[in-house]
């Protein structure tokens, strides 16, 4: 029983990471039909930003320093996202395949750039001692870091939903995802939201990177790319453009992965996820909460 609780909370922590990576991806795709293959690079960039803050300000106590690291990671991700949209993606609107190709090249170059700067060996990140301690929960000892990742992911989910449902920008984004041509026909300048959505996606992925450095005990250039594949699977299972769908799918995918890895055989978890995707696509091609077929 106690191991089941541990696996579940670990799985939910992983779900938090998937959600942070996938929600931005899903919004970007839902609004502008851009499949952003450079999204994993935002994740890694956030991880390195967090690592850099933890590494260089060692006079500050670890807890506030980590808070600062998360903020820095989010900022780096947001700025990277905005720059990529403004500088590169914007030039290619109307040509989806070229946009996908552009993000492939970008992801490739960004990962190699980080590899050239930080080497391909994982950088271990300083963590507050409190992260490694455990909390007793239904008879299981849960590492605090898992609970923290889960908590941050939930806060981000709530904040994102509040932004989408409660603000004018959020309204425009939702309208754009729902029906881009109708929104445009009603005189809404959807294109102005593109930068916001990209920055938002970068912000979420950057924060995900900082937490990923905690979850995986370090950060390497290709970490984001590895997670990106699962994030894609989460996006498709959840339904493109649907934030609640992404959250549900993230939990589903992460728990499947962790349970199969621990109860069936190590390494089979990822394959089970791929099978899950195939089944969802055949039974419900638009995803769990998606409205239209991609």
């Amino acid at each position: 029983m106690s191991s089941f609780v541990l696996y579940t909370v670990t799985g939910l922590g992983l779900a938090g990471l998937y959600f942070l990576l996938a929600s931005g991806l899903s919004l970007i795709f839902g609004l502008m039909s851009v499949l952003n293959l450079a999204h994993g690079a935002f994740f890694a960039a956030g991880g390195y930003a967090a690592w850099w803050v933890m590494d260089s300000f060692d006079t500050v106590p670890a807890e506030p320093r980590f808070l600062l690291a998360v903020v820095a990671a989010g900022a780096v991700g947001a700025v990277a996202g905005a720059l990529v949209e403004r500088g590169l993606i914007r030039r290619l609107y109307g040509s989806h395949v070229r946009q996908i190709l552009l993000t492939i090249g970008l992801g490739m170059a960004a990962v190699a750039l980080m590899g050239g700067w930080f080497t391909y060996n994982p950088r271990l990140m300083d963590q507050p001692a409190w992260f490694g301690a455990t909390t007793q929960l239904v008879g299981a000892n849960i590492p605090n870091s898992r609970l923290l990742i889960l908590a941050v992911a939930i806060v981000m989910l709530v904040a994102l939903m509040a932004f989408l449902r409660g603000t004018r920008h959020g309204l425009i984004i939702r309208a754009g995802v729902e029906n881009p041509s109708m929104a445009r026909a009603l005189g809404v300048d959807v294109a102005r939201s593109f930068t916001i959505v990209f920055a938002l996606g970068g912000l979420l992925a950057g924060i995900g990177g900082a937490l990923g450095a905690v979850y995986f005990n370090g950060i390497s250039p290709s970490l984001g790319t590895t997670q990106l594949i699962f994030a894609f699977i989460v996006v498709v299972i959840g339904g493109l453009g649907s934030v609640p769908g992404t959250a549900v799918a993230a939990v589903l995918v992460a728990l499947t992965q962790i349970y199969v890895n621990n109860y069936v055989a190590t390494g089979l978890g990822s394959i089970a996820v791929v099978v899950l995707l195939a089944v969802v696509l055949l039974v419900r091609p638009q995803g769990l909460l998606g409205k239209v077929q991609p």
């Binding site: 795709f29 039909s33 499949l35 293959l37 590169l88 030039r91 290619l92 040509s95 395949v97 070229r98 996908i100 190709l101 552009l102 492939i104 090249g105 970008l106 992801g107 490739m108 170059a109 960004a110 990962v111 190699a112 750039l113 590899g115 050239g116 700067w117 790319t225 594949i229 894609f232 699977i233 498709v236 493109l240 055989a265 190590t266 390494g267 089979l268 990822s270 394959i271 791929v274 099978v275 995707l277 195939a278 696509l281 055949l282 091609p285 077929q293 991609p294």
Partner: protein, 336 residues
């Protein structure tokens, strides 16, 4: 006619290359007769073949498959497994592998083609990723995991065995590239090939004109996969084993990059893209660690010695400014 002469001349030059004791300094360590240089050229030729095979499904039919590493890896692993565990000789193993792969390609293709567009990309990615993960976790302990699966040399004909015969392996790779070009060319210039291009341009319209697109899409998918599997079986010989790297999504993206680099929808464009990409990835790091780059400050020399950084930037520039790839540059120059 001019195309045929150009093709013949290129093949002739490439075929005579292993006999010429001259080299290109910096790019290659030795002249064209040395095994090291010939191996680099042979893998570049195999990549040219796999790029052409991908061009059939992506460039001509417009299907954005993110799983083209799968048939290539199946070709390499399948042939090797048949040699190791069934004891078949190399040529027979290739034949059996192609048959088995063909059945699999039709199955995977008919499943994946139930979706379209980005979802199709996802499903093909998922299938390829499943195989990549299978190789890494290796539950039956027969795939070699991360280390890869060294070739069963005793099943390979003497002609292609060992470093001494690198020349012959190079010629085999060249033959593969030529064969792939001829088959792919035959396919895309056939009547079915016209339908492929029509599907790429406007699938609905093809339906309106009374043709069912799905069998054509499946045909393009299967032919393209089969050519990739064949290339995989030659790659097995060139690098003397099947390595986990060719199963990954990164490799699929690399194939996509090769085709776009050269020019999608043109076979010789894809071939040049694959060839150039192969040489760049294998030799760029050697060029980039040369003295000129080492003299630069660390923040610049670090990334510049990463082949994928240079390739990625080059690729972004091509997508932005020359979407037709390298092969369109020539036309542009001529047009200007």
């Amino acid at each position: 006619m001019r195309g045929r002469i150009a093709l013949g001349l290129t093949v002739l030059v490439l075929a005579l290359l292993p006999l010429v004791p001259i080299g290109i300094p910096v790019v290659f360590t030795g002249d064209f007769t040395t095994p090291g240089t010939l191996q680099v050229l042979a893998s570049a030729l195999v990549l040219a073949a796999v790029a052409m095979s991908y061009d059939v499904v992506f460039g001509y039919t417009g299907l954005l498959s993110f799983g083209h590493a799968l048939p290539f890896a199946l070709g390499a692993y399948g042939t090797n497994l048949l040699m190791i565990h069934v004891g078949l000789d190399y040529p027979i193993a290739i034949g059996v592998m192609l048959l088995g792969h063909g059945v699999l390609a039709v199955l995977v293709g008919s499943l994946a083609l139930r979706t379209a567009g980005v979802a199709f990309a996802m499903v093909t990615l998922a299938f390829a990723e499943a195989f990549a993960l299978l190789v890494l976790s290796d539950p039956l302990r027969i795939l070699g995991g991360e280390e890869g699966l060294p070739i069963a040399s005793e099943r390979v004909p003497d002609l292609f065995r060992g470093v001494v015969n690198t020349q012959n392996i190079y010629w085999l790779a060249l033959a593969l590239a030529v064969f792939t070009f001829l088959v792919a060319h035959r396919v895309v210039s056939s009547r079915a090939g016209r339908v492929f291009e029509a599907i790429r341009e406007n699938e609905k319209r093809v339906e309106m004109m009374g043709l069912r697109p799905s069998p054509f899409k499946l045909a393009a998918f299967t032919i393209s996969s089969t050519l990739a599997a064949l290339a995989g079986s030659v790659y097995l010989l060139v690098v003397r084993g099947a390595n986990a790297g060719i199963t990954t999504p990164d490799f699929t993206l690399a194939i996509l990059v090769m085709v776009v680099l050269g020019g999608a929808g043109k076979l010789w464009g894809a071939a040049i893209g694959g060839f150039v990409y192969g040489i760049l990835t294998l030799r760029l790091s050697a060029v980039a660690t040369s003295d000129a780059i080492d003299a630069l400050p660390g923040w610049l020399s670090g990334p510049l010695s990463e082949p994928l950084f240079v390739l990625g930037v080059l690729f972004i520039l091509l997508v932005l400014f020359a979407p037709g790839g390298l092969s369109s540059l020539r036309l542009r120059l001529r047009g200007a």
